[in-house]
Symmetry: D2
Subunit: 352 residues, 4 copies
C-alpha cells in the first residue's frame, strides 16, 4: 500500500470547496493536508470559518485545519491542489501552483479554453491527459493544470459521447433545469427561486455550447481538435437543491432507430482506463425505464453522485431523438469530477 498523496483544497470554505472536503474524507489515495480561503478567513480553523451547507456532516479530520492564503507559497506539503476558486482568481493564481510543481485539478472555468489545458471527463477523453506533457514543456511548469467541465455540460456529456461514438452526433439542443447549489453561497436569493424559475444563468449557455465540443474532440499530435457538432443551449435555475436536469434533442450522422440509442445507453460500460479509480462508478450511465425519470431528488446519488442518469428516449419531429439526462452538479459536475480527474492523473504519474 502506497502512502497517500498529500493534497490541498483551494477555496475550501465555499460550496464546491465543501464538496471537495466531504468527498476527500477517507479517500484511499488522497489526504487533505492544506486548505486555503480568502483573506477574511485566513488564520481561522475550517470549523470556525465555514458555513457548512452539505447534508452529510463536516468531516472531523478537517475541522481543526487552519486556513491558509490562496497563494502557491502557502502550500508546503501538497502534491495536488483541488481548486474551487472563482474564475477570476483562478486565472491569476493557478499557474503559480503549476509552476511550483503542483498538479492543479481545477473546477474553475479560467483555463478551459486554453488549448494546452484539457477539460477532462475520464470516461470520455482520458487520452486528452497526454497533452499535459506538452503543457509542461510549453509553459515551463513542473506541475500542471487540468480542468473538469462546467456542471451543466457534465450532466449530459457522457451519454452524448456514447451516442457519438456509436453513431455520430451532428447537432444537439440542450435545455437545463439547474440546482441552486451550483450558484454557491449565498448564491440564489430565496425570494428569486421559491415559487419561481430564473430563465437565465450568466455565461452558462456559452459554456454549454463550447465545452462538449472540446471534451468530445479528438487528440492528436499534441492538439485537441474541437468536435464539429453544433450545440444550442437554454439554461434555467429551478428550486432544486442538488442535480441538474437536462432535456435534449439531437440528431445523429447515421440514421438509426430509437432502440439503437437505448441499446447504446443500456449497455454502456465504463472504459478500462477508469476501472479501479476510487471515484469510478459501477455504472457510468444508468438508463431508466420509467416514463417520469430521471428525477433530481431520486437519482442524483446513483453511483455515489458519479453516474449520469438518462431516460425518456423518444423520437423527435425536428431532430432525430429526445431524451432527459441528469447528474449531481456538485459531485459529478464539480468536486467529484475533479477528484476523478486527479485519480486518473495519480495513476499515471505515481502509479496508483
Amino acid at each position: 500500500m502506497k502512502n497517500k498523496i498529500p493534497v490541498a483544497v483551494l477555496a475550501a470554505t465555499g460550496s464546491v470547496g465543501q464538496r471537495f472536503i466531504s468527498l476527500l474524507e477517507n479517500h484511499p489515495w488522497f489526504e487533505v493536508v492544506e486548505i486555503t480561503a480568502s483573506d477574511r478567513s485566513v488564520g481561522k480553523t475550517y470549523q470556525e470559518a465555514c458555513h457548512w451547507l452539505i447534508t452529510d456532516p463536516m468531516p472531523e479530520s478537517v475541522k481543526n485545519l487552519t486556513l491558509l492564503p490562496t497563494e502557491a507559497n502557502s502550500l508546503q506539503k501538497s502534491v495536488f491542489a483541488f481548486s474551487a476558486l472563482p474564475a477570476d482568481i483562478a486565472k491569476n493564481v493557478e499557474p503559480d501552483f503549476a509552476r511550483k510543481g503542483i498538479y492543479v485539478c481545477s473546477n474553475a472555468s479560467a483555463y478551459r479554453k486554453d488549448p494546452l489545458v484539457p477539460i477532462l471527463v475520464p470516461e470520455v477523453n482520458a487520452n486528452h491527459l497526454d497533452i499535459l506533457d506538452i503543457q509542461q514543456k510549453t509553459y515551463g511548469w513542473s506541475g500542471g493544470i487540468i480542468t473538469n467541465p462546467n456542471c451543466t455540460t457534465c450532466a449530459f456529456v457522457v451519454p452524448l459521447n456514447a451516442i457519438d461514438k456509436a453513431y455520430g452526433v451532428q447537432k444537439a439542443i440542450v435545455f437545463s433545469m439547474q440546482a441552486i447549489s451550483g450558484a454557491g453561497y449565498p448564491g440564489v436569493a430565496s425570494m428569486d427561486i421559491i415559487d419561481n424559475v430564473i430563465p437565465y444563468i450568466g455565461g452558462e449557455e456559452e459554456k454549454v455550447e463550447y465545452e462538449p465540443t472540446k471534451i468530445m474532440g479528438s487528440y492528436q499530435d499534441g492538439k485537441i481538435s474541437l468536435h464539429p457538432m453544433v450545440i444550442s443551449a437554454h439554461t434555467n435555475r429551478v428550486a432544486v437543491v442538488d442535480a441538474h436536469t437536462i432535456c435534449l434533442s439531437f440528431s445523429t450522422n447515421q440514421k438509426v432507430s430509437k432502440d439503437n440509442i437505448i441499446s447504446v445507453l443500456k449497455n454502456y460500460q465504463m472504459p478500462e482506463i477508469c476501472i479501479g479509480l476510487p471515484s469510478c462508478p459501477d455504472r457510468g450511465i444508468v438508463y431508466h425505464e420509467a416514463d417520469n425519470r430521471p428525477q433530481p431528488r431520486l437519482d442524483r446519488n446513483l453511483g455515489r453522485g458519479m453516474s449520469t442518469s438518462v431516460g425518456r428516449i423518444r423520437e423527435d419531429s425536428i431532430f432525430d431523438f429526445r431524451m432527459v439526462s441528469l447528474s449531481h452538479n456538485t459531485i459529478m459536475g464539480a468536486a467529484g469530477g475533479s477528484i476523478f480527474n486527479g485519480e486518473l492523473l495519480a495513476r499515471r504519474k505515481f502509479g496508483f
Copy 2:
C-alpha cells in the same frame, strides 16, 4: 346596459373550476347562477364542498349556491356553460349541453381535435369562431362547443403567432417548466416536487405539438387547415404554484434579424376584434428587457393574468432564434382564456 348573461360553471369545485368562479366574480357581462360537480358534492353548497386553493378569497356570491349534477338537464337558467370538466366526462356530456342550446366554453381537451370545434385564442384566431355555424348545422345543435388550448400552448402561442404573421414560422422546439396548479388537486404529491423536477407530463407533449398548428391554421370555406410548421416539445413539472415558463427555439421562413423579432414583440397590439372585451389585456404581449425575465412569480399577473410575457430574444446556432415565453396557466391558460372566448361569442351572438 344589458342584463348579464346567466352562466354555469361545470366542475366548479376543482382547480380550474375555482379559477372560473374567481374570475367571474363581478364580471360585467356574465353572472354565475348555476354550478355543477361530481356526485360526491351534489346537493352541498359551494362553500361546503369546495377545498378552495386560490390565494384570493372565495367570492361571497357563490358560497351558498348549491352544486348540481353535471348533466344538461340540471341547468335551468344558463345560456353559457364554462366547462372545467375532465376530458373523459367532457367527451360524454358537453354535446348534451350544446344540444340543449347552451354555449359551452370548454377548457377540456375532449373536442379540441374535432374539425368543427375551434381552439380559440381571440387575439390569434377570432375568425375561427365562424365555424360555429357549420358546427350547429352539422351536429344539429342550437348551442355549441368552443375550446381554449392546453395551458402550455397558451404560454407561447400569442408571440409565436405574431412572429408567424410577420415572417412565417417554419419550425419550433419548445421546453416547458410547468406549475403544479395545472395538475389540479390533489394533483402533484409534495414528495414528488419539493427539491425535485418531474420531466414528464402524460399526453402534454402531443398536445403542445398539435394545438398551435390548429390555432394558427387558416380558416376558409368552413374548414380549418393546420399550419404547416413543425413543433417538438419537452414538458416538465417544477415547484412553481402558478404560470408555465417556456424556452423555445424557432426558425422563420424569411431570414430576419433579432431586432426584427424584438420589434414585432414590442410593438404588438391586440387586434381590433378583442378591444372592449372585459378580459382583454392592455398588452397582449409584454416584452421584458431584463436578461433574467420573464419569471413566473413576478410576471404571471401582468394584464390580470391575460398577458403573455416574453424576453431573452437571442440568436440560436441551430434554429434562427431563441426566447422565453410565459403566461398564467390557470388564467390565460385555462379559465381566463375560456372566459375571453365566451366574451367574444357573447359579443357576436348577443351584441354585447
Copy 3:
C-alpha cells in the same frame, strides 16, 4: 373632495419600500411624489434602480420618479413620509424629517421603545396617537414619528387584544413560522431555506416579547404604561413567500370557556375610529372553522392583506387556550400597517 396629501417613501427600492409603492398606487388620500434610496441608487429612476419582487406589477406612476438621497433636505413637497429604512439609518435620520415638519410613519424598529413614540395598530390602540402632541412639544418637532409593530407581533396582536379586552390576558407563549419576504432582498439565501427551516431570527424574539405589552398598554396623562402580561417567543423562518403563521398558547385572567373565546373572535368588529379609513378591512379578524386553517398561501390576502386570520381555538393542558393566528407580513405587518397609521393621522390632523 380634498386634494391628496403628497407623500414620500423612504428606502423605496427595498422589500418593504416596494410594498409601500404598491399599496399607495391609486390611494384615495395619499399620492407618492418623492422617493428616496441609498447612495447607490440616487439619481436613477425607480424603474432603473429597483429589482421589483412583488407579484403585482410595478405601478406605472412611480416608474419614472427619480430617487433622492434619504435626507430631510431632499424632500420638497411631502407632508408624510413612509419609512422603510433599516433601523440604524432610521435612528439617525427620522428625527430630521420630524423636525422639518414631516409626519414619519415608520416601519423601522428604531424608535419603538421611545416612550413618546407610539407603536400604533389602529384597531388596538388608536388612542395612543394622543401622545404625538407630547412628542412634538418635548422634542420641539413640528412633524413627528409614529411606528407600526414588528411583523410577527402584528400577526397576533389584534386577536390577543380582543381577548384581553374581554377577559384579560395574563400570559402567552408565541411560536412563529415566518415568511422569507420579511428578511428583505437578497435576504434569506435559497440554500438556507429550501428543504429547510431556520429556527432563529436575530432580535425577533425580544421584539415579540416587548411590543405587544406597549401596544396593549394603557395611555393616560401623556404616558403609555406597559401591559403586565408576560410573553415568551420562539421565532422561525420557513419556506413561505408572504405571511407569518403563529401558534400561541395563552391564559386569561377570568376563567372562561373555549366558546367564550371563539365568540369574541367571531363577533369582533373594527372599532368606530377605524371605519372609513381606506385601509380598514371589513373584518379585522377572520375566524376560520376548518381544522387546518388559517394557512399563509390561502389566507394572507383576506381584507386585502389587512385582516388577521385565526383558527384552531382549543384548550391547552398548561395554558388555558391554544390557537393559530396569521397575517400578511409585508401588508398588515409592515407597509399596510404603516399606511393605516398614516390614514388615522391624516384624519385627525387634516380632517380626511
Copy 4:
C-alpha cells in the same frame, strides 16, 4: 459470527417501509427475506410495485423479492417483522404475527397505549423491554409486539429525558415543524405545502402529549407508570422533505441554570445497554453552539439519522428554559428507531 436473523418488512412499499428496506441493507444482524404489501401489490416484485422515494437508491438485494399478503401465515422464515403498517391494519394483524412467534417491531400507533406493550427508545427506557415477558404470558404469545414512538415525540424525547434524569421535568410545551415524508405517499399535496404551512396534523398533538409520559415513565413490577409531567403540543407541517424541528419550552423541578442544562446535553453519553447495537449513534445528542441550529437539511443525517440535535438553550419568561430539538423523522423517528429496538431485543433474546 452468528447467522443473521431472517426478518420481514410489513407494508414494505410505503414511505416508512422503504426506509426499513434502505436501512436494513447490509445490516450486520438482520437480513430481509420476506416483504408484504396490500392486495394491489401482492405477487409483484418489490421493484415492480414500489414507487421508490428515497434519495439513496433502492438496494439490489430486495428488487426481486416477491410481495406477500400481510398475514401471519404468509411468513415462512422470519423471526422478526418490522411493521410499517397503517394503524388500523396493524390493530388487526400484528397480534397474529406475535401469536405465531414473531417479534413485531412496530412503527404503528395501534398498540402504543396497550399497558403491556412498551414504547421503546433504547437510550431512554431499555428497561421497559422487561414487560415483554408479562405480555407473552398474559396474551399467550410466543412472539410479541414492541413499538417505537411517533416521529414528533422522537424528535425531542432523548434530550427531554436527559434533562429529566438530571433535574426533573415538570411541564413542557412543544411546537413542531414537520417534514412531508411523515405523511407517506402521496401524502401532502404540493398545492397544500409549497409557499404554505399547514397548522394541523390529525391526531398528532394527542400522541405528542401522551407518548413521552409513557416512554419516560417508570417500570416496576410488570407495570409502566406514566411520568407525571404535563405536555402541551402544537403540530404543523412545513415544506421540508425529512426531519422534524421542534421548539420547546419546559420547566424543571429543581431550579437550575442555563449552563446546567447545556452541560447535561453536551455531556450526554449513550447508556451502556445501547453500546454495540448496530444502529447506536456515537452521540445520542449533538449539542449545537451556533445560534441558528439545528436545521433539518443540515443536521438530520447526524449519527446516520439516529442522533437528536439540540441548540438554542435559553431562558424563558414563562417556563424555565427554551430550546430547539430535531431528528430525522423516518430514521430515528420511524424505521431507524424500530430497527434499534429490534437490535435491543435481538441482543437480549438471541445473544447478539
